[in-house]
């Protein structure tokens, strides 16, 4: 296919022809084209189907505001839906397809929606799908889901890499049109650190689409020279293909850089980078976006924005039609006609809604003033337009100039409200800008090139002065101010046909009026009721038009009607970019234990606990399933000795003359009288009396303690201790330090644990029961002088120790322990066996300390001291928390010992229906106990302590199970603790 619509001129590189495909058809374009420009050059008019009515649609604009030309790029896992063809740069081999149609683009079966349009007006969801209620899930929702949405995802994992980055600057300049370049030059010349970002792939903004002169040369040339000057300044960084999408607090901006979107393959480089920019001052030079005028059938392929028609001719050398008419309400529309004639395109007519003297004399172009376009024909491409005068023009492109709306979006990201300027019929930034931001150029409602250059420079000089720099004295370059008069004209009232306001969401003037009639008059309601201004374009070409029509319907002014709030992002940001590298395994950092290497060598499989990877069990020999391994680990540990890595528990070193005071305040039970060389179990409450954490704390010296916390709460407890230390008792002499990573710690448990330790602990340390009894602790040495700490504590219920060495000895110690333990048939045990043994002993973990449960629920109410002030004890004394009706932690065993128990089951009395009011509590932990030979569980049962021996039901509505269980003591194994004291 040849490029029939290509004109002479433009900024594309004609020496580099690019082949691409559109719906399977191969076409050619040039380097520098967007996909939209190349499609237009090839005479493609129909590019998509509208969202609701599936109306044929064509390219409407030439920038990121595009509502219609949403296409799918690339194939397979790289498939990228909903891309605006107007910003997609052409590259060799690009495969693009249309979307949102069933059947082909030309024959879309869903086009029947258009015939049903009287039933699909605003709010039809709310009205149509209300009843019968039962239809919602089975009929309506599947129907809506199949019809809704635009492009499709591949369903495969995105193979591209995305990244995040951070930038700092004194002055951020957003946009590189005449105002932006002028601002960047002035700021750069002052010596300030400047960052200039533009969403386009070339700098210059509208200068690339216009024929203006600047500084005695063409606007294009001037922009190139300005960029060349900026590029050599060390204090200036310029970034193209970078959209500043949000203005956040304290001068922080979000920006999306499309690093390799314009290349066929990213070659491992990031596709996009999401930047967080810290700025001292920001100058918004985001330009303006043109809007349409509402008239009958104004959505046909070939009806375009006038400024875009001009851009295609001037920048890309493409005629958007063989015969083009211009419909305008302002001076700028005329420039489209004159520029088109200049490059040899055929302009049939200019229709100006204003009763004015013809604005300029363009040879060969008929002029009609005081008239409008009221209808069009042509289903898949525009064929003719009919004027309010009754005249019909045969044209295949209608350039509509409805006026320009300043891109005020970022000025409103902190709830700033734009204000209305009647003289330019547009919203301009209001007075309440985000702190540190100023606005220059068209974004500020200043439309002349000269004025933009002057204002950009002035804004930059003001900004750098505020930051303490000396502004450059160099003046702005010379240019003209082009005429830009406008008389507001929103919709052609003579039209009897549907007139579109929002092309992307298929919102017509009728929908807006209907919203008004049905009481959805606030603009925020209008938006939600009609969906106007939603989706990928966020109503950039539609919002002001819709507002004006609402204002008219209400008989109020536009400022009285108000605007919706603009929120980030300015244009769509891919989720991939927001996630950056934080996906899959790298979603968050993970921590490995000191025995990780040894565990991998010895058949461990791993499980995530908090940020840690812990061994869950070790597969030995021909063990078939996890239960084989776990049962063996429990049995062998209870029979002889087992070793488990418990490094992950939080360890906090606490020192100072007031260390004991801090512990006494943090723990509900007393610690002040704990003797040196002893360890104590403690529970911590929140101030509201709910259990926060538990663990053991060892007193290594008069003013030196080491606290352990649960693995998951290590960070929170440290923060809590610092709160007590800094916010409540700032003059206590106590310091804390997290030493979780400093010490490798192993539990050595089982009847032979002491015998094993004798082999590695240095001789001078007596481990006998008398010298080192249950709950003893000491600084010791092992293996001939290696420093270590020994704690005689037990989670398994066995005679057990925890031994800690500086982390660098961790790998060595696990190997030495297993070597020394060979004669006792030592086994490593993982997290699962640890859990089985703690359930057999009735010890609580996070499943029981849920943030809803009290010490009283856990059967530890009596531990709460009433003799001292500590966090949580006052509010734990509240009446209900101490009544007989509360949940009690109990043990549960199946009546039929062959039955399995399930965590999360709810308890009900026999004969009761499972309902909220009959609910007695829930099962928190379950395990198969190889020691007892059947399943056991822990759970909270209402008044459970007084119901020992009762049989109730463990009912599980999710798994459809119902098991009779007997309430027993939570201490299933060795209830008197003889083993651990032995």
């Amino acid at each position: 296919m040849t490029q029939d619509m290509r004109l002479d001129g433009g900024l594309v590189d004609r020496s580099r022809t690019i082949s691409f495909s559109w719906n399977g058809k191969t076409m050619q374009g040039y380097q520098g084209d967007t996909l939209a420009a190349a499609l237009l050059a090839n005479g493609v008019k129909l590019v998509g189907r509208s969202f609701k009515y599936h109306r044929p649609r064509g390219i409407f604009s030439a920038g990121s505001e595009e509502p219609n030309a949403l296409v799918q790029l690339r194939k397979g896992a790289y498939q990228e839906p909903n891309t605006r063809a107007t910003v997609a740069e052409l590259f060799e081999g690009l495969e693009a397809t249309s979307q949102n149609h069933k059947g082909t683009l030309e024959f879309d079966f869903l086009a029947m929606n258009d015939l049903a349009s009287p039933f699909l007006s605003a709010g039809f969801y709310y009205k149509t799908f209300m009843w019968p209620r039962a239809f919602w899930e089975k009929v309506y929702e599947p129907f809506i889901r199949s019809a809704a949405g635009l492009g499709a995802l591949s369903g495969e994992t995105d193979p591209d890499v995305y990244d995040k980055g951070y930038l700092h600057c004194d002055v951020l300049v957003i946009g590189s049109g005449p105002a932006g370049l002028s601002a960047a030059l002035a700021a750069g010349r002052s010596g300030a650190e400047v960052l200039l970002c533009d969403e386009d792939n070339v700098f210059g903004g509208r200068l690339n689409a216009e024929t203006f002169k600047v500084g005695g040369t063409s606007g294009v040339e001037w922009a190139r020279n300005a960029v060349a000057e900026l590029e050599v300044m060390d204090n200036v960084r310029i970034m193209s293909r970078t959209t500043v999408y949000g203005a956040f607090d304290h001068g922080i901006y979000g920006a999306l850089e499309r690093k390799t979107d314009h290349l066929r393959s990213a070659n491992g480089k990031p596709r996009n980078i999401a930047w967080k920019i810290y700025s001292g001052r920001a100058i918004l030079c985001a330009g303006a976006t043109e809007r349409s005028i509402a008239f009958g059938n104004n959505d046909r392929p070939g009806v375009m924005l006038a400024g875009s028609v001009r851009a295609y001719a001037n920048r890309w050398g493409v005629a958007t039609g063989k015969s083009i008419a211009v419909f305008t309400n302002n001076d700028d529309g005329w420039r489209t006609a004159s520029d088109l004639v200049e490059v040899g395109a055929n302009v049939a007519a200019v229709i100006d809604s204003r009763e004015i003297e013809p604005f300029m004399n363009i040879p060969g172009v008929s002029v009609t003033v005081g008239a409008g376009v009221c209808d069009t024909t042509g289903r898949k491409a525009l064929k003719s337009v009919t004027l309010t005068t009754g005249q019909t023009l045969d044209v295949d492109c209608l350039a509509v100039a409805g006026g320009w709306s300043p891109n005020v979006h970022l000025t409103c990201h902190q709830r700033g409200r734009p204000s209305w300027r009647e003289d330019i019929a547009a919203f301009v930034p209001g007075g309440d800008l985000p702190p540190g931001m100023s606005v220059a150029g068209a974004a500020n409602g200043v439309y002349g090139t000269r004025a933009c250059l002057v204002e950009g420079r002035a804004a930059a000089n003001a900004a750098v002065k505020e930051l303490g720099f000396t502004a450059s004295r160099k003046g702005a370059d010379k240019a003209e101010d082009e005429p830009a008069n406008i008389t507001a004209y929103w919709h052609v009232k003579e039209s009897t046909k549907r007139a579109w306001v929002d092309l992307q969401n298929d919102v017509t003037t009728k929908d807006v009026k209907q919203a008004e009639q049905e009481g959805f008059r606030s603009v925020e309601h209008l938006k939600r009721y009609t969906t106007m201004g939603m989706a990928t374009d966020q109503g950039k070409t539609a919002n002001v038009l819709g507002l004006a029509i609402m204002a008219e319907a209400r008989g109020k002014s536009i400022p009285e009607t108000g605007t919706t709030i603009f929120r980030p992002p300015y244009s769509p940001v891919p989720f991939g970019a927001l996630a950056g590298r934080s996906k899959g395994k790298d979603f968050q950092p993970y921590r490995i234990t000191p025995s990780d290497k040894w565990a991998r060598e010895n058949g461990a499989s791993f499980v995530e606990t908090g940020p840690w990877l812990r061994a869950e069990w070790y597969v030995k020999g021909d063990e078939k399933g996890w239960r084989d391994s776990v049962d063996r680990e429990v049995i062998e540990t209870r029979k002889s000795v087992g070793i488990c890595d418990v490094t992950t528990l939080g360890k906090i070193d606490i020192q100072g003359r007031d260390a004991a005071k801090l512990l006494n305040m943090a723990y509900a039970n007393g610690f002040a009288k704990l003797p040196v060389g002893k360890t104590r179990y403690g529970i911590m409450l929140r101030e509201d009396g709910i259990c926060m954490d538990d663990g053991t704390t060892a007193r290594l010296g008069e003013n030196h303690f080491v606290m352990t916390t649960t693995t998951v709460n290590a960070v929170a407890i440290y923060r809590h201790l610092d709160f007590i230390r800094q916010c409540l008792y700032p003059d206590w002499d106590v310091h804390i330090m997290s030493v979780t990573d400093s010490w490798a710690q192993y539990a050595v448990a089982g009847p032979n644990s002491r015998n094993l330790l004798y082999k590695i602990v240095d001789e001078e340390f007596d481990l006998s029961n008398e010298a080192f009894p249950f709950m003893a602790c000491a600084d010791i040495t092992i293996c001939g002088g290696i420093p270590a700490r020994l704690f005689r504590i037990s989670f398994s219920g066995e005679l057990a120790y925890e031994i800690a060495v500086p982390s660098r000895y961790g790998d060595s110690l696990i190997r030495i322990l297993h070597k020394a333990g060979k004669e006792f048939n030592v086994v490593p045990y993982g997290l699962e066996a640890l859990s089985v043994m703690r359930i057999e002993k009735g010890h609580a973990v996070a499943s029981e300390l849920t943030g809803q449960t009290t010490a009283q629920n856990l059967g530890m109410g009596r531990m709460i001291s009433k003799k001292k002030d500590c966090i949580g004890n006052i509010l734990s004394e509240r009446e209900y928390m101490n009544s007989d009706e509360i949940w009690n932690l109990v043990g549960l065993q199946p009546v039929d010992k062959a039955m399995k128990l399930d965590g999360g089951s709810h308890f009900i009395n026999k004969g009761d229906a499972p309902r909220m009011d009959t609910d007695l509590g829930w099962m928190t932990s379950v395990a198969y106990s190889p020691t007892l030979g059947h399943h056991i569980g822990l759970g909270f049962v209402k008044a459970g302590s007084s119901r020992m021996g009762d049989v109730i039901r463990a009912w599980d509505g999710v798994r459809k199970k119902d098991v009779e269980v007997e309430i027993v003591s939570a201490h299933f194994f060795d209830p008197d603790g003889e083993r651990l004291r032995g």
């Binding site: 607090d249 700032p730 003059d731």
Partner: protein, 95 residues
């Protein structure tokens, strides 16, 4: 947001943990008359101003200072940042 740490200068708010109302510094004592009532007030009864608000922030990814940050809840403007330990002393928590 950027919090101007009194010791470390401007730091991104992502380095901090946000706890809430700085009145948490004013913890009653068990020995107080009507201690139960006082603790109930302390824990559950808070102002929720649209405007200036004193909050506790913890520089968890930094020097682990608790800070009292005065932030306008409607604009996020931060007008004052103090070390919580200094503030606690000023509120009479030296013992």
């Amino acid at each position: 947001m950027i919090i101007n740490h009194p010791l470390l200068g401007p730091r991104d708010s992502s380095e901090f943990y946000h706890l809430g109302d700085a009145t948490l510094i004013d913890r009653p004592n068990r020995e107080d008359v009507n201690a139960a009532e006082a603790f109930y007030e302390y824990l559950y009864v808070r102002d929720n101003p649209a405007g200036k608000y004193c909050e506790l922030w913890y520089h968890e990814q930094g020097d682990r200072s608790w800070l009292v940050v005065t932030r306008d809840t409607t604009t996020h403007e931060i007008s004052e940042v103090k070390l919580a330990s200094d503030e606690a002393r000023a509120r009479g928590r030296s013992v």
